[in-house]
């Protein structure tokens, strides 16, 4: 299957063009985020914390997906940028809580917020960011009518529920040391934890505001799902590689005993003696997992082909995302934003 042919008339953007688009949409969304987070009078122990994570940068993939969809479905940049800012603010609020739940020490190359300011203030800042996301969202919806506002709220409520379920799955598997997991379990978790908030919801918000509520939000769900799963698998694979990405710890997922596709594969493919040792490792508290054990597990995954399997499945999921793109966006007029969306499936598994 040739990617260009599969997307009927839409040439996927190159990595360089995608980077440019991410940067352009990202700048617009970041400016909007900064504008909304700039308080009239700085509240002590709060406003500095709210601005911290957004100021550290990031790929800005979520806001860019939202803004591109808004334009592809007929709206201009103004229709999408408010939603994009809301998405980014909410995402940063969730990151603060996520770092606390995972015990993470570094975020985007700097100490996590709870390490800088303590858990209590960090949780409060996360709460505030999540509520603060409502303001740009409402401002973006105001000119579009109550019907559009209700569609956005319903999509947001669904996303919130799905994301919480996904996070609960991942934390529950780890904290209760759940061992008997399948690929389907992993895909379900990735759908809820990653794809819904990261790809489906931004796509839906862009589609709803861009089309003024006339397009079908369900039409982009499968594209977002497969894109999100491919993204998550690639993220997990990179964590096991030499350079997992700036600000991230190599093999950090192994220390955290994250139930990745590769871990599930390795456990299923390992010999009884290795599985016994693996189960004993997973049962340990995080602080008791040694470098030696982690290195052993990383080597086991390599020997069993688990990392290669994860890479291959990730690419296959990106292929499914390409296929779903061609269905969801069929008939949309060519544009830079359509090419950007068309190129994302390839980009997620080969991104810089």
């Amino acid at each position: 299957m040739n990617a260009t042919a599969a997307i009927a008339g839409v040439k996927p953007a190159s990595n360089a063009a995608i980077s440019d688009r991410l940067a352009a949409h990202g700048r617009a969304a970041a400016a909007e985020v900064a504008r909304y987070l700039k308080a009239g009078c700085a509240a002590p122990f709060l406003d500095d914390l709210l601005a911290d994570y957004p100021s550290r940068g990031g790929k800005m993939l979520r806001p860019a997906i939202c803004m591109a969809n808004a334009r592809v479905f007929g709206g201009d940049e103004r229709a999408g940028v408010g939603c994009a800012a809301a998405i980014e603010i909410l995402h940063n609020g969730l990151l603060i809580h996520d770092d606390i739940q995972d015990g993470s020490e570094v975020r985007r190359g700097r100490p996590t917020l709870h390490r800088l300011h303590g858990v209590a203030l960090a949780i409060n800042a996360g709460d505030a960011l999540m509520f603060s996301a409502l303001r740009p969202l409402i401002d973006a919806l105001r000119p579009l009518g109550s019907g559009v506002a209700r569609q956005v709220l319903e999509a947001t409520m669904t996303m919130a529920r799905e994301t919480a379920e996904g996070q609960a799955l991942e934390l529950g598997w780890r904290d209760r040391n759940v061992l008997e997991l399948s690929e389907a379990d992993y895909f379900r978790m990735a759908l809820k934890k990653t794809a819904w908030m990261g790809m489906i919801w931004p796509s839906q918000l862009g589609l709803i505001v861009g089309s003024a509520g006339r397009a079908d939000p369900q039409s982009v769900m499968r594209f977002g799902y497969f894109l999100g799963v491919a993204f998550q698998i690639e993220d997990d694979v990179r964590n096991l590689c030499e350079d997992p990405g700036y600000g991230k710890e190599r093999n950090g997922d192994l220390y955290e005993a994250k139930r990745t596709l590769m871990l599930i594969h390795a456990r299923g493919a390992s010999a009884p003696r290795d599985r016994e040792r693996l189960d004993a490792f997973l049962a340990l508290p995080r602080a008791a997992r040694t470098e030696r054990d982690v290195q052993w597990l990383a080597a086991l995954m390599r020997d069993l082909g688990s990392i290669e399997h994860g890479r291959t499945v990730g690419v296959a999921m990106a292929g499914a995302a390409q296929h779903e793109f061609s269905l969801a966006y069929a008939g949309r007029p060519p544009s830079e934003d359509l090419s950007f969306l068309a190129g994302l499936a390839i980009w997620v598994v080969g991104r810089p």
């Binding site: 009518g145 506002a149 069993l304 890479r311 390839i346 080969g350």
Partner: protein, 261 residues
């Protein structure tokens, strides 16, 4: 987990029958940046070194993973629809969110004001927005039609993919049960406001028709909701009426319900 692969240099399982071994999968890693590409892979790459055709040669394990991926998504959608239906049959309905949100958010706003001096008046603005916003003028946006469902994805073929799910709710709740669960999708772009139901007439007898049927979008299920208002003292029995889209002359189907005794 169905995938089993013999580890290099690992001891054989104690019980081979309980630990099936599959053949080595074809090695085909993603192309990263401008890195070298495996000779064993059929992947093509463009000037960026990016993968163009990731599905040219995949092992059965990977094909199975994609199939499972589709099944997981379909199952999740089905569960979401069931949850939405169950939710709507209780005392609280998603279709009533705008009204309820006003009350709830006012209360939420009051609580948040007690927590912080920062700008949480946003919730008041949300409540205000929900009650005052007006729809945009017709024809403001050019958008595609509802999804045709004609794709060849593993989980979307067949008549079910052409259907538009409809969840029927009753006011008061529990006043009846739905006999219709789906309609056909509109052929042209159609907003929920352009879909109307004719009054639901009784199948027999001279009871008055049910005239208040509100059609709305249900994002949780990806379909529609039809809220039927049942007047007090309405005669039990089966009622039905056509559902029309303003964008076409053929009805989307018949909405049928049964009122309890």
């Amino acid at each position: 987990m169905t995938t089993r692969k013999k580890p290099a240099g690992a001891e054989p399982p104690a019980d081979p029958a309980a630990h099936a071994v599959r053949p080595e999968p074809i090695r085909m890693g993603p192309v990263r940046g401008t890195g070298a590409q495996s000779n064993e892979s059929d992947l093509k790459s463009d000037a960026d070194g990016r993968t163009e055709g990731p599905l040219n040669a995949i092992s059965e394990d990977v094909a199975q993973a994609v199939r499972v991926g589709y099944e997981v998504f379909t199952e999740n959608l089905r569960r979401g629809r069931e949850a939405a239906n169950a939710f709507s049959q209780g005392e609280y309905s998603l279709g009533q969110v705008p009204q309820d949100a006003g009350q709830t958010l006012n209360e939420l706003g009051r609580l948040l004001k007690q927590l912080t001096d920062s700008s949480f008046d946003i919730v008041y603005r949300l409540a205000e927005l929900l009650s005052t916003l007006k729809p945009p003028p017709p024809g403001q946006s050019s958008v595609p039609p509802f999804r045709s469902g004609s794709g060849d994805g593993a989980a979307r073929s067949g008549p079910a993919a052409q259907a538009l799910a409809v969840a029927v709710r009753f006011t008061p709740s529990g006043a009846g049960r739905a006999l219709t669960s789906s309609l056909t999708r509109p052929r042209a772009q159609t907003s929920p406001a352009e879909i109307k139901a004719s009054p639901l007439a009784p199948r027999e007898g001279g009871a008055p028709s049910l005239t208040e049927v509100a059609i709305d979008f249900d994002i949780a299920s990806g379909g529609l909701t039809a809220t039927v208002s049942v007047p007090q003292g309405q005669a039990p029995g089966v009622y039905s009426g056509a559902v029309w889209a303003a964008t076409q002359d053929m009805p989307l189907g018949v909405l049928a319900i049964e009122l309890a005794q």
